[in-house]
Symmetry: D2
Subunit: 230 residues, 4 copies
């Protein structure tokens, strides 16, 4: 079971909206006139200039909404620490967890013995959850015994500026594998929706060509291609 991400909404014509918002800062014209004059080429080169000059606030005008499934609560707990974003998450108070499952880390899956232990323990956790509910314990209390890796579902909205920040942190090879995989799928989706905005995105080894981490991983990405197929 791996994370599944769908892009369920996004600002239409996002690149031109971002470019028009940025241009209004330096122009005597209004945004509607500016939009009229923005060809695809002008938009793309202007956005590149914005990124290069660090003028990032106009990227906030483009928003993207993702539906996420197959993510562990371990990862969702990290995810919601990004405060400049909106989340709606499946409640373990209101939704029964029977029939759901636990995300298994690849490092466990690849080790026969670890995998077996993990599966047995997971099965016991669900059996215990169901037994507790039978004994009259409310679901919101029974869930304490479920593994932290239990699957969750959520809808999340982030703007393009925050997404760039998210990709910079979470696509780094030192990020937790699951949130890295989430970030990779998200980037693939927004690149398709708004190639002018997400043409270049990721950690500093990609965007600056050199690692700015205090503790580098030692094997920086060779380029977008490696990162996106990781």
């Amino acid at each position: 079971m791996a994370v599944i991400v769908n892009l369920i909404a996004g600002t239409p014509d996002a690149a031109r909206i971002v470019a028009a918002a940025a241009k209004i800062c330096y122009s005597p014209s209004g945004a509607v006139d500016i939009l009229d004059g923005l060809t695809e080429d002008k938009t793309e080169s202007f956005l590149k200039m914005l990124r290069d000059s660090g003028h990032l606030s106009p990227f906030e005008h483009a928003s993207y909404t993702f539906a996420v499934e197959g993510l562990s609560r371990v990862a969702s707990h990290q995810l919601v620490r990004h405060r400049i974003a909106s989340y709606s998450q499946q409640s373990q108070r209101y939704v029964g967890m029977s029939g759901q499952t636990c995300i298994m880390p690849p490092s466990v899956a690849q080790n026969e013995e670890a995998r077996k232990l993990f599966e047995e323990q997971t099965a016991r956790a669900w059996a215990c959850y169901e037994k507790l509910v039978e004994l009259g314990v409310q679901r919101e209390d029974a869930r304490f015994i479920l593994p932290h890796g239990a699957e969750t579902r959520l809808v999340m909205t982030m703007n393009a500026r925050e997404l760039h920040h998210f990709f910079a942190l979470r696509l780094c090879k030192r990020a937790q594998w699951e949130i890295l995989e989430l970030a990779r799928q998200m980037l693939l989706l927004v690149r398709e929706a708004s190639p002018e905005i997400f043409g270049v995105a990721g950690p500093s080894c990609i965007t600056l060509g050199r690692c700015t981490e205090a503790h580098p991983c030692g094997s920086p990405y060779s380029g977008m291609e490696e990162m996106l197929s990781a």
Copy 2:
């Protein structure tokens, strides 16, 4: 000269996105399946229930981007105090202000003598600005002498939750007339784009049927109609 507002972007199919995000909290299904099952009727009644129960966070998944012209810097200074929003505003450092104008409050326009004084003083302010620039003063310094009512232009993005909060504060009859007019035009636009989300919006006299202000204006709106045609 009055404020002109255009809605230049908005989340497509916003009502269904909000409803699906809210439903995921209480459902064992994922957002994509939920979206498939959401008819227009179900969406509308579900959104009404959300508003009534105060479960407002799902409304954050819908975003709206406005282009605003003909707004005074008096009003924009208030506007940008709403921190859960994104702004790109015409810079007086980089854009020359010659040929621009000052917003005249209706109370001034309706008083012959006041109007004349205001116009003369405005003309002198621009003349002084231009003279200062001629004398070698940078535009960013010369602008100190322009009136605070000088026109500005901006692009602004707010999500539907923050918009409801904005409408509650700024459509109150006690709000500053200019930001009230801005709010009114914004509401007209988002009602057209997302009628299910903005069917009911505004101050407490509209949404609750009674005023919750500490200092009521004494003449609450009779209904949406009065407020929208104000």
Copy 3:
């Protein structure tokens, strides 16, 4: 094991700072002069007036920092959804979880059979965690098998405005029991530190004298005393 909260920092003389900040909005004087003139009595009555009139932004100038232990990750996942706050939380990537424990809900503790099941399952979860680590699985992956109720520790800072919002939501009898207990302890601490600011706080049955929830619990608090000793 129950949640333990300590207040490790707070804005000194917070009530006067909030009052001075509020007064500056309506006064021709600067904040330093205003502070000089603020007696204890004036401060208290002025803060009451602010709360009553809904002018809440000045309360943002007072900040409080809490050290929290004995909280489950179930509760911390909810807690960090409050985005207008700062959190530093014990990492399960970097800190080994051996020797830590699982929070047991009172509803489980009070049921002999449930309690026994819960304890056995918890012990097995830790044994599995340790076995996985022995097998070479990284701690960040082994933790997937630990129960969601595992204890965490964190430091959290919130301002007084957000705290009032937090208390309104989380001291409601319908809130999850653990976050309610956290909120109760936090309120006891800030009431001692800043009685003028937190004299009245909590859900609408306390602050308004009537419940504004869509689904009332049916047994509103009789007063602050009941709520604080709950």
Copy 4:
């Protein structure tokens, strides 16, 4: 007339609070025990390490509240664009502006002819404001004619992380002179209050030893000393 800044509140023992919050992420102990073990030396070296490694979120636990006078509304309009902060500002709706003044940019003050024009125009603006009020125009409308450079007063709270961000942007030689002067005074004050937190702060020429701006000013600061005495 120049900007006057006072630090009217700050987190007591801020450096240790930040260090304890950071340490909790990597430690099996709780924050209270960690605080006990934190000597001054350990605190200082640990904070340096945090800054160097880019682990900045713990700096959010330290807050600082400033009283500002003698700032133009030109600068305050820029200032409040920093959204991760709290502001209480003198209202031009509720406070009469008679007897207040306009901030004069140094470039104007240093040019005899410009200065004379500026002063005359300023006097006329206030005379017009007062005349409008006499004619029955409300203060909130009469203020449209006052210069944008009119003085304002405010109370502002920022946490140490945001302050570092603020200093990085606003102490750059390319920032507007007035907000640069505000930033300089703020930094002097917080350095005195929390030397371990603000020992190094400012634009990239100071913190990294090289300019990362797209359009460098060409004369980077030689060090903290030059910047603080600027």
